[in-house]
Symmetry: C2
Amino acid sequence: MPGYTPPIADFQFLLHDVLDVQNADIPGYAELDRDFTGAILDEAGRLGTELLEPLNRTGDREGCRLTEGAVRTPDGFPAAFRTLREGGWIGLDAPEEFGGQGLPYLLNSAVTEMFSAANQAFTMYQGLTHGAISAIFAHGSDTQKALFLPRLVAGEWTGTMNLTEPQCGTDLGLLRTKAEPSGDGSYAISGEKIFISAGEHDLADNIIHLVLARIPGGPDGIRGISLFIVPKYLVNEDGSLGARNAVTCTHLEDKMGIHGNATCAMRYDGARGWLLGQEHRGMQAMFTMMNEARLGVGLQGHAQAAIAYQHAAAYARERLQGRAAGGAENPDGPADPIIVHPDIRRSLMDQRAFVEGGRALLLWGASLIDRAHRNGDAGAEALISLLTPVIKGFLTDEGFTMAVQAQQVFGGHGYIEDNPMAQFVRDARITMIYEGANGIQALDLVGRKLARDGGQQMIGFLDHVRDWAAQNDGDDETFTRTIIAPLLAAADDLQAAGLYFMKEGVKDPDNALAGSTDFLHLFGHLCLGFMWARMARAAQAALENGAPDAQTQEARLATARYYMARRLPATALHLVRIRSGAAPVMALAPGQF
Amino acid sequence: MPGYTPPIADFQFLLHDVLDVQNADIPGYAELDRDFTGAILDEAGRLGTELLEPLNRTGDREGCRLTEGAVRTPDGFPAAFRTLREGGWIGLDAPEEFGGQGLPYLLNSAVTEMFSAANQAFTMYQGLTHGAISAIFAHGSDTQKALFLPRLVAGEWTGTMNLTEPQCGTDLGLLRTKAEPSGDGSYAISGEKIFISAGEHDLADNIIHLVLARIPGGPDGIRGISLFIVPKYLVNEDGSLGARNAVTCTHLEDKMGIHGNATCAMRYDGARGWLLGQEHRGMQAMFTMMNEARLGVGLQGHAQAAIAYQHAAAYARERLQGRAAGGAENPDGPADPIIVHPDIRRSLMDQRAFVEGGRALLLWGASLIDRAHRNGDAGAEALISLLTPVIKGFLTDEGFTMAVQAQQVFGGHGYIEDNPMAQFVRDARITMIYEGANGIQALDLVGRKLARDGGQQMIGFLDHVRDWAAQNDGDDETFTRTIIAPLLAAADDLQAAGLYFMKEGVKDPDNALAGSTDFLHLFGHLCLGFMWARMARAAQAALENGAPDAQTQEARLATARYYMARRLPATALHLVRIRSGAAPVMALAPGQF
């Protein structure tokens, strides 16, 4: 079976022909010429295929093992992590002052897609470290930054997020873990945390836990939560390691997938911790990690669909079964490859249109993060804040669905663990759940992001889409009919849904909340439609300019038309559901279920 | 965690208030009074919850083990199978002349839903036996019937279907297994079969394999295939067991789910077999099993959604997290149960509407089978033939989707194998694949069932729906608006899709085939819409008659309105996709994927 093919040409097209990064006026982007991005992407792709992909099945089959508090990761994981560390990949977009490469988040996103496609469970170890770096960089004192960031950036240490407890997942107001001031500036942290990804392992010398806990005497609920740095090994002032801290992994979860990542139950028995950021402001600090983590999870869901699609396309070209309806296409063989069958082709087109469109959305989103951080652009910050739940929720729901479709192409062979398809599905499944289950993303989108400004940011997004459409609607009637018109129809559907929420949500908030998941999907489809319109325009321009890869550009145009004709019309169905309001949804009393 | 609750009241409502079985004029139905069906269903439900459900996790965790050709099923499976056998459950609907109970297939379907919900992997052993009984009953000689049926009906022996080979799944024309005449009326069967469910195990004294093979000199392709009875142990004329036959399980597949069922690779080394039915007419004989098996698989996909929904509803009532948007509903507790949140409620309503609607469709379909077999009604035979791919494809696609939604209600706890949700999803996944992957169901529906009579049978179905609507559209404006009108709109969508296929499929068959999966789903939604309309009418009648279970009947009416408002409008989206034709789907050449 052929392995993963890093989508280098697609990344280059998106970076240079669609996003035009060198002219984007974002600090650090001017240097991103085609040769430079190509070199980075090629090397990352090589590591994905040669280093990480061969460990994906190993990780799934072996899983992690817990012995006397120590976790052994699957064979090959520690060595692979060392290789990435030595290559400087852990701190690719970390600040140079702390030893990072200082590259844009954009480039890190492209690299992480490939690593994650090759091995999601493995890539989570560095993903969580990335989040810890961001949180300490944003909220740490100078001393904390100096002490922790260089080792995290170098990958000598890794990071974790400790939020969930048995009685609290989504509702962190119920959190019980305590942080008692010790009088020396440190706190004694005590409590139980569950579902802690990468909570214990053998990849690094130390693990820096970022832990939500309550300082006694603080406010109840979510306003009384603080964030703490709790190292597995205490860190001396010179950065050397001291005594083992009182934090232990007590249990490894047996999960449906991502077996190569240690999902730990952690016990804190008066472990020493240090406040990160301000007292009782832990949620604000944690959101720095969570928002970034949400984009990262959207990327993971997408990445599993991306590699599953590659396998499905390859299998469909090779597997001989049946004959084309219009007559044999492989007359010398015993049967035709199954890719001749329209329903297989439909499935592959669904997958392809999602994978390429989702990739564009992720890179565009990453460029908004860079614009927000590097240019201090409040508009970009507000837009990516609006889009974060859409990227997380839509790309993981659809990513899972597409991984399932890819598995389906294999027939019975897809259900057998000898082939990798079942693992892609099992691994993708978690992305719909962690970092805020997708229902919570929908609630965040409708209940917070949309409600807080009366939909102004959404209108801004619609204006952006419509302005683009107006500027790119030339005298090509086919382009107008097949690309621009469906895009504008979907934009109208989003606006109508937003208006419905404004009008009916005032009467009863449930009228908006009952449609929240439909709204997230409507929004997601419009985002992918917008991406496909931009890609179609760029492909058309490339063809007009005599692009050497004409067949590839034609394929992009055809896939754009597919998305517009067969996927984007889902917005109308979502609007119908939204407009049915809360009444059908809330008709039964809880006891009637 | 609360266990499975057999849906007895729902079955009784469907049998008596919706299908009105006692007045259905089908032989054997008049005896099905409420007490009788209640007694059977209660006892089956008890076996499901007390005997089979406790073994579901055991089966998943232990799986099956192969040692020197012998398969050991999970602990408890052999004893449970013995209990079912002794209770006469294996032959519940088998002919009395061969020791069966002679009950309608309808009742067997209801029983099998409960057994399958409680333990899908276990219930497959008897499901395959059921298929073997049907095939031998329909195609066997009197001697074969006398020799094999009594033991199969008694559950002393079990059956299998041997179709798939490494190079042929869907395309049985590629089949290579050989059957050489031995001169004594028997054949020597040689070849390799894969994915043989229940191919080897320790539940029964003998296993009767029904094997597709080629008699040398016969036609190539599908027309040269014959069906053989190949017992694991040869059977003497008096029914006693003789020598071990030359058939061996060489490998057990490691699968994503249904671990408790042995999925075997089988080697036939000149095993003795006897022709079942006529030479080279094996496919016709096998279709007797396959059509029944397809309905059974639709039932399995539905059953996993049914039990997953029960768990999700129970968890949503218990799990405390967050507060209702309109103010605390559990003010004395630390948080409200998550069932207060509209998006959780939406998910539960999706599941509930599917589960109850799907149950109605399965029972209606089973009654059509009975009408076809017991009354020799060609119209019923033609209708269930049309509906079979819809029931298989739609109920398994949606069943899986709903099991995933149910798992999602559990958040991270749903991804952990300590809870049963992941198993429901993993087990449900196979139902979209086996007995003809769902793309093949769609092809069967559009390429054969619809094409062979120019859509006449589909028009007959639409007439049936419209006649019902006309007869039940009274002067209740709410019922007309919320139930009848959406049903008729969906019927129009199906008709428009069929017309599109007739018109454009003539120009290019791909125009129909590219829309086949959408057509199957459009058809499935209309079927469930029709079932909900009938249930709504029956619930309304019960309320008018002062039903004692008014709350339950009100819940049915509310769920019917939910289906009409939020699920049935999907037919319009499927129609849009269908009408986009083959061009977007087939735009890329195979090499461009």
